[in-house]
Symmetry: C2
Subunit: 351 residues, 2 copies
Amino acid sequence: PSSSSSREIQFRSPDTPFKSHYRDDIETMMFDLQDKICDTISEIDGGSFHEDQWQRPNDGGGGRSRVLQHGNVIEKGGVNVSVIHGTLPASAVKQMKARGKDIFGEDLPFYVTGVSLVIHPRNPHAPTVHANFRFFEVLCKDPKTGDEKLVWWFGGGTDLTPHYLYDEDARHFHSVLKNACDKFGEQGMYGAYKKWCDEYFWISHRNEARGVGGIFFDDLEDLPSYSQEKNESNEEAKQRQKRCLDFVKGVGDSFLSAYIPILSRRKNMPYNFDQQRWQKLRHGRYVEFNLVHDRGTKFGLATPGSRIESILMSLPLTASWEYCHEPDRGSEEERLLQVLKNPKDWVETDH
Amino acid sequence: PSSSSSREIQFRSPDTPFKSHYRDDIETMMFDLQDKICDTISEIDGGSFHEDQWQRPNDGGGGRSRVLQHGNVIEKGGVNVSVIHGTLPASAVKQMKARGKDIFGEDLPFYVTGVSLVIHPRNPHAPTVHANFRFFEVLCKDPKTGDEKLVWWFGGGTDLTPHYLYDEDARHFHSVLKNACDKFGEQGMYGAYKKWCDEYFWISHRNEARGVGGIFFDDLEDLPSYSQEKNESNEEAKQRQKRCLDFVKGVGDSFLSAYIPILSRRKNMPYNFDQQRWQKLRHGRYVEFNLVHDRGTKFGLATPGSRIESILMSLPLTASWEYCHEPDRGSEEERLLQVLKNPKDWVETDH
């Protein structure tokens, strides 16, 4: 499909005084995934993504944002790749340490690349989907010895937010993700990451989940069945990064198989005004989660020089808040709420 | 006008082991102000407010919430009184200390009452308005001497958020507030509180103000031309509270004169789809401020047992986010944005 988007990446990948083994491959993976996802969504919609390439002020990297708005199938969808480097804000260091990250020193140089997407379809029967895959590098410096150490990790995941609950959709989404995890021969990754997802996308002030979940992981420095050596060789460190990269690539590549069949079977279902109204109320909850709780959004909004439009691209075109709205007893809307309040397992897990 | 609202307050004002001189009068003032404002808005709209009286779980007070939704003039409006007591969350104590509040000890018993309102009219030419008046009491205990000290203060203000800028409206709103401040014979209160308002309602991630401001004050323990004695007598403390109460009452009573003439002259202006679309985009910014920056909202969402529907009553019925929306050059929409990015003085100040 014709599109205003471009394969050319106009900003140069940054020169930093540090660089882990597979950084170039990881960066390429992010842009490739963006291409593949945008091509597929664009084909289904019939409309094309609008592309913006942007740079951070003071040369701290940039990004390639693509948005499809007012489409035939997609009300608003954004797929964004960014490649950012600079010095970590103190608040970010504090937060990373608080969740157990082994980083030390002050004014830490960092590099991060990631792809992030949110697709809000028009049809209330078609669920919103979110995915994000990211890779961090932080150069730490021991204040006593002066030794430098490059710490890196992956994070990511994808989750589904239906406005009307179709059990078969939730089961399909989760089983594709489970297969993607299981391919790496690892025990319990899907189960652990499914649980993490339910915990992360929890709207605590509403006491309900954002959607029916998926998987979420962070601080991934190796696959769980390998144990990191205290003094690993350069070659071991390289292999370790390759294992993680393959896993993240595997999950990333499974995204379209997880989501597209659902979008295809829901996009042309008939719907009425009341169902659209309910969709907008659920969009309101999506906004609440993203602005009040989402770590990535908060990190972005607090980082000087970040591109606000790319961060808030995740918000729906229209959201609504009605005072004390409650769905009718026995309705489909009420059934969704009950599941959101009590997240369930959609496929059997190993543990 | 007939209304489902009630003069009866079903929950009892709390018995606490502490109580400052005019607490009962202050509480009454909050409920009276709610009555007066709801009556006036209801008369203009032709519709009536829906009332909910609610209690906090575990007997920590309650409130009287009133909402007018889908009205003739008002798209969504909420006026809420709450009377809350309990033990201050540690995060709240920390925040109060950070802004210089002289409180000490742990697990501090507190009492707070306040009236809070947001009115979102249907017509894009009619501005949204917000007002809040609140009164805090905290019983501190010196960890060394064991001496108890009752610390109290008032806070409040009101601010205007137009979607289309009418200079005469902004001037009217500010001049009524200035007169209300000036009545107390105090130099510079309006000027200081106007500045505070511009600073408080600042959407830092957008680098723009929420609206054209008004006044905002907090930690008010006396009028500025009085100097508090180190060892004030009981009678002096009482007079000091009376002076503050009179000031807050004066400002509260001026609210209707500040807002209603503006609502009256804008509510029936013709408007088109594009203007309504712009209104919804500005509603999006309102949501961003309230969920990301507003101290009161964040305090509420983080307080266990708080009533979410009363806190988020402030959100508009419908809000919209379009990627990279920019108003046309030379348009009214652009003129508004320019003023929001560079807050201006609407009436002459003394200093």
